[in-house]
């Protein structure tokens, strides 16, 4: 596969992830979409490392580490919210507004 095609696939997956975050209301799904975005970026890193050098692939490991940490914290928050409100639908939570 040519890097251009990989980058195209990466962009498609990123847009799918972004739209998912914006459109879906289920916190779990939104979370999955964020993971999708991260992995789209990872794919782009790997593809571009062909031109730039090993640093691109190195970065992927950092992203995966951060993503793992983020998944742990994010899921913990979602679970705790669910315990309180018995819901993971973001429409039910507007307490970020003042």
């Amino acid at each position: 596969m040519l890097p251009t095609q990989v980058l195209f696939l990466s962009a498609v997956i990123f847009v799918v992830g972004t739209l998912g975050v914006i459109v879906r209301r289920n916190a779990i799904i939104m979370f999955l979409c964020i993971e999708l975005q991260l992995n789209a970026v990872n794919m782009a890193f790997v593809a571009l490392s062909r031109y730039v050098g090993i640093e691109g692939q190195l970065f992927v490991f950092f992203v995966m580490t951060v993503a793992a940490a983020e998944a742990a914290v994010g899921l913990a928050i979602i679970i705790s919210i669910f315990r309180h409100y018995e819901s993971v639908i973001t429409d039910d939570f507007s307490f970020l507004r003042w």
């Binding site: 972004t18 914006i22 939104m30 973001t90 429409d91 507007s94």
Partner: protein, 709 residues
């Protein structure tokens, strides 16, 4: 480094040899003594007025005695030092001007004001009058204010006044004079409103203060202009640079002097700013004597004499000074003819006499102005204190019979001579002096002013000869009116039948010694005070016997160094002032004035005596002119209608229409628009994570697009 002059006791020698180098001893004591008096009396006043004071009034009598000693004592200490220095100056013959700079007050790139004093022949005369007459009035006050609640407060204010007045005359530059100028204004305000529980009296104080502000503005503008023109605001610097920068009759010097004139007009109660002085009579009578007759109101004259170099170069302003002076003199004299309040007569008489001083300094006769200032301080202080003694006795007598009559209304008096013979005698001396009867003090000073006006009109190249001739006629007319209204004043108060309510008359008695002694001393000064400056033109005439006096023309020679420069300018541009008056021989003119004054006195006395003076008869004044004069030409009403009310309406317009209608609305509009924008912004703040993510993405896209294109 400590300035050597700060060391008060650095010089101990009392006498100096006859050389011109002269140094004052302990000059700072002169200023500091009244200040210390103020601090002590003020502290006692605060102590006695402290909250939770116990009802026993413990030891307040002892404190009162301290006030009675400290109040006049501090002024006496000051007077002694002034006298000592004056004596040393006399011994020095032609003393040099003494200048001492204590510290720098203001310092910017090219503007420096030093706190310093200047003692020269002019200021020592003023200092002697202020502390001398001031001390006598303080002494009188002990008796007059005896039963007042705010006894300590009164003396604290009075001491503070003397302190500021001394700063005014001793300062070595215009800004320092301005400090004193404002300070005396403050004390005047405090003392006019001394009985501040009475709203009328409190507002009289406010009126004095506010009217004076107009003049103070002129003073400030004058100082600023002077600095921008000469780069110097101290007397020495101004005198040095003036002739190099200004030209005779130039616009700039005229403008500066006009501003100074405005200042003088405010402080010295001349047309059109005189309205505060009659109202100032609301204060205690000794205050009227000290502040509103002898010292503070003469500050305007002092300012003009101090700036004589500038005024000599501005013939237009000088003509205006003289014009304002003589108009005020005539105008106030007409009002004084129809007043019934014993203090109001004296107030208008003071305005009138101040007008004479302005006339004197306006025709370049600066010495004559100062001379009249000094003699006026003597006889007007005597008249006021005498009136105070009368009011004091009347008040107590009326109080005894529980009468509600006004103790200041001359219609309630009459025939007081039998009860107060000494006061009556002394006040006749002052009356004859102010009327200009030979050989009392007022004759010499007033004669010199009128004579100088005439000769100024007849000078070789007098700027406005016909104008000065009119001034001369007005001055003579005023002199005759002065004799008339003062006779009326004396006859209504002391002669004829007694008109006080039943039983009160016999309760009137001579005032205590502490009040009588100052009167006697002032009577002496009113009689002989004029002999220090018998002008040469009088020596050639019938009363030439005075030529033999050692003091002949003394004041003239004494002040000459201060105003020599202005005389030089005058001589250069106007020429020698002639020794002739507009009506002919200057030698006989004195006689005309004096004889006429005496004649008016005699006629007035017989007229008023023949008129059966009873309360009811004098109470009604039906004539149009009488009513017009009684109501003071309706000037207060005129000002009220054309200045105070329009100002009030303008303020109301600014308040309701401009402030509330425009400024407030603009402020509210900006507030509301901020609120609206906030409300619009808050619409994006939904609390939904998805919305935020959406805008985040939009923002990201925007950044990307911007970067790419």
């Amino acid at each position: 480094m400590i300035n050597p002059h700060l060391n008060l006791f650095i010089e101990s020698g009392l006498f100096v040899d006859g050389n011109m180098n002269w140094k004052p001893i302990m000059p700072a004591i002169i200023i500091l003594a009244p200040l210390i008096g103020f601090i002590i009396n003020g502290a006692i006043s605060l102590y006695l007025n402290r909250p939770n004071v116990n009802s026993k009034g413990e030891s307040s009598n002892g404190l009162k005695r301290i006030v009675s000693v400290v109040g006049p004592g501090s002024i006496l200490a000051s007077f002694i030092v002034v006298g000592l220095n004056g004596f040393r100056m006399l011994l020095a013959g032609h003393p040099t001007t003494f200048n001492a700079n204590y510290w720098t007050w203001l310092q910017t790139s090219d503007f420096q004001v030093n706190v310093g004093i200047q003692i020269d022949t002019l200021s020592i005369v003023m200092m002697a009058v202020i502390t001398g007459v001031g001390f006598l009035i303080h002494l009188f006050s002990i008796g007059y204010m005896e039963s007042e609640k705010g006894y300590a407060r009164y003396f604290a204010y009075l001491n503070l006044f003397v302190f500021f007045m001394l700063i005014l005359v001793m300062g070595s530059s215009y800004p320092i004079m301005f400090v004193g100028w404002e300070g005396v204004g403050l004390c005047s305000y405090l003392l006019i409103g001394y009985w501040f529980e009475d709203e009328e009296k409190a507002s009289a104080g406010k009126k004095a203060f506010i009217v004076n502000r107009i003049g103070d503005l002129g003073f400030l503008l004058g100082i600023f202009l002077l600095h921008s023109a000469l780069g110097s605001v101290d007397y020495v610097g101004v005198a040095e640079n003036a002739s190099g920068v200004f030209v005779y009759g130039g616009g700039l010097v005229t403008l500066i002097t006009l501003f100074f004139l405005l200042a003088g007009v405010g402080k010295s109660a001349q047309i059109p700013l005189f309205v505060w002085l009659p109202d100032a009579m609301a204060g205690p009578t000794p205050v009227s004597a000290l502040i509103h007759a002898a010292t503070m109101v003469t500050a305007g004259v002092y300012l003009i004499v101090r700036s004589s170099v500038l005024f000599a170069m501005a013939p237009v302003t000088s003509a205006l000074v003289a014009g304002i002076g003589v108009s005020t003199a005539l105008f106030a004299a007409t009002i004084a003819c129809k007043q019934y309040d014993i203090k109001k007569v004296l107030a208008y008489s003071t305005i009138s006499q101040l007008g004479y001083m302005f006339l004197g300094v306006g025709v370049g006769a600066y010495t004559a102005g100062v001379f009249h200032l000094v003699t006026h301080a003597f006889f007007k202080a005597l008249l006021f204190l005498g009136a105070g003694a009368v009011i004091h006795s009347m008040h107590h007598a009326l109080h005894k019979v529980h009468s509600e009559d006004d103790p200041q209304d001359m219609r309630n008096m009459g025939g007081l001579r039998q009860y107060m013979p000494i006061t009556c005698f002394l006040m006749w001396i002052a009356t004859l002096a102010i009327s200009g009867v030979w050989p009392l003090s007022g004759f010499f000073s007033k004669d010199e002013i009128i004579w100088m006006t005439g000769s100024f009109a007849m000078a070789e190249s007098s700027p406005f000869p016909s104008l000065y001739k009119i001034y001369w006629v007005m001055a003579v007319a005023t002199a005759l009116m002065t004799a008339y209204y003062m006779t009326r004043f004396m006859v209504m108060t002391f002669h004829g039948k007694n008109r006080t309510v039943d039983g009160a008359g016999s309760a009137i008695h001579e005032t205590p010694k502490i009040m009588l002694i100052p009167l006697i001393i002032l009577g002496f000064l009113s009689f002989f005070g004029g002999w220090v400056n018998v002008t040469p033109h009088l020596m050639e005439s019938v009363i030439g016997g005075f030529g033999a006096l050692p003091m002949t023309d003394w004041l003239h020679h004494w002040i000459e160094p201060v105003i020599a420069e202005s005389h030089h300018i005058q001589l250069e541009n106007i020429g020698e002032t002639g020794h002739v008056s507009p009506v002919g021989g200057g030698e006989v003119f004195w006689a005309v004035l004096s004889t006429c004054a005496a004649a008016v006195l005699v006629i007035g006395t017989t007229y008023f005596k023949s008129k059966s003076l009873s309360y009811g008869v004098l109470g009604e004044d039906s004539g149009t002119i009488s009513r017009f004069l009684y109501n003071k030409w309706y000037i207060d009403e005129f000002y009220d209608k054309w200045i105070v009310k329009p100002l009030g309406q303008m303020s109301k317009f600014c308040w309701l229409k401009f402030d509330q209608g425009f400024i407030d609305r603009a402020v509210n509009l900006s507030g509301r628009s901020a609120k609206g924008i906030g409300w619009f912004g808050s619409l994006f703040h939904t609390g939904q994570v998805n919305t935020y993510a959406f805008f985040l993405t939009l923002g990201l896209l925007a950044v990307l697009i911007t970067v790419m294109f």
